[in-house]
Symmetry: C2
Subunit: 230 residues, 2 copies
């Protein structure tokens, strides 16, 4: 939709990968609509995933015993977070929609993207006590997980293997996105593109583009326990 | 137990933290028993969390389109993984028990520890198709998550907030540890040490030491869906 701002947080090493194609398709379709699209290409940026003292510029509140959560909260308030974190916070602050594009690694996001979550979503910026969940800061924003898997859909729904793909989504969608108040859109899951035919792979990209044509009309999912576990 | 080998994968920035104290207590108690204890102190090592080409020494199988899983699998077989990954794999290979000691970040492990999981547990070393779950490689090893939380126990069991702490454990215990065949021991969870009194904090450390006195007699948890979701 013209004028809307979109941030794509993208975590794949290879531009020619399925994740790269899905990211490119999103940029193309959303730009065509007149959206302002920003991509944080984490590997290309060599984004720092480690949560350390380096995230605070200048003096620490308590240099004798380093507490990352406390120090980054203070640094946020004093505007003394490191510039790479501030840059990502600005992009997120301006976005109406945030798309996370990644391959599933060990039932979760790759470490480089976990680092983005750990470092960018600090207290004060992304939440406050008790400003979270239904009182969360980002209620005017939508977010969506778009990811690929190594295993097939059958594997992710086989009781003895992965139980249900939604179990895996709980920490990310509920614990991160819903916690910060985001409206969570239905995840875009592409199962096992590496085992798929070229035609099937093209179809994955096309159906993502097609979905994005009407993404602004979508209703968020109901972020209840029953969505995940019933 | 004398002669047993233990690997502690430790992810906290501050030696004086509760996580640091719990790690120290484990080293002390297990050494007292005559175990050989190795600590991977991830922040002190400045452990690399990013999964990149740098993990493969020498030529790639397919330099035109980088696939991390495929390349690291090939590199494992050709013994051409980067030395920091090989070093961790050796420590893990020799261990009878692996303890992961960390603060819960966003319903999961900190990015630096996620990077250890992403990079060390490559195909060929940690699993093979179909060598996983009950046919997994690490059936002669036990593993245990020992972590602290920011929120109180009440918060983690409040339906509208976190549902149940076990939901959070699913990706880590089932998707990582059980997948690789580990016998999973009951997690050691210390809720909200930062909100606790000094006495209560000491008690957390003491009760961990005490548990470790008989850790070799413990039966693993039943890694079924019902342990997590019923």
């Amino acid at each position: 939709m013209a004028g809307k701002r979109v941030l794509i947080v993208y975590a794949h090493q290879e531009p020619k990968s399925m994740n790269g194609s899905l990211k490119d398709a999103a940029v193309t379709e959303l730009s065509r609509q007149g959206c302002q699209v920003t991509v944080s290409d984490l590997y290309a940026m060599n984004f720092e995933p480690r949560a350390t003292k380096n995230d605070i510029v200048g003096a620490l509140s308590n240099p004798k015993s380093f507490n990352y959560a406390v120090e980054t909260y203070e640094a946020y308030k004093k505007q003394s977070l490191s510039s790479d974190v501030v840059e990502e916070q600005k992009k997120l602050q301006e976005a109406d929609l945030v798309i996370f594009q990644f391959p599933l690694y060990w039932y979760s996001v790759p470490a480089i993207l976990k680092g983005w979550i750990d470092r960018v979503l600090c207290q004060g910026f992304a939440y406050e006590i008790p400003k979270y969940f239904k009182n969360g800061f980002f209620q005017n924003k939508s977010a969506l997980l778009s990811f690929t898997t190594a295993g097939t859909a059958e594997m992710y729904f086989k009781k003895e293997y992965a139980g249900d793909i939604r179990y895996i989504l709980w920490p990310l969608q509920h614990g991160v996105l819903h916690f910060c108040g985001f409206k969570v859109l239905t995840p875009q899951i592409n199962y096992a593109p590496e085992r798929a035919s070229e035609d099937k792979r093209k179809e994955m990209v096309t159906s993502w583009s097609r979905r994005l044509e009407t993404i602004w009309d979508e209703k968020p999912i109901d972020c209840s326990l029953s969505w995940y576990f019933e």
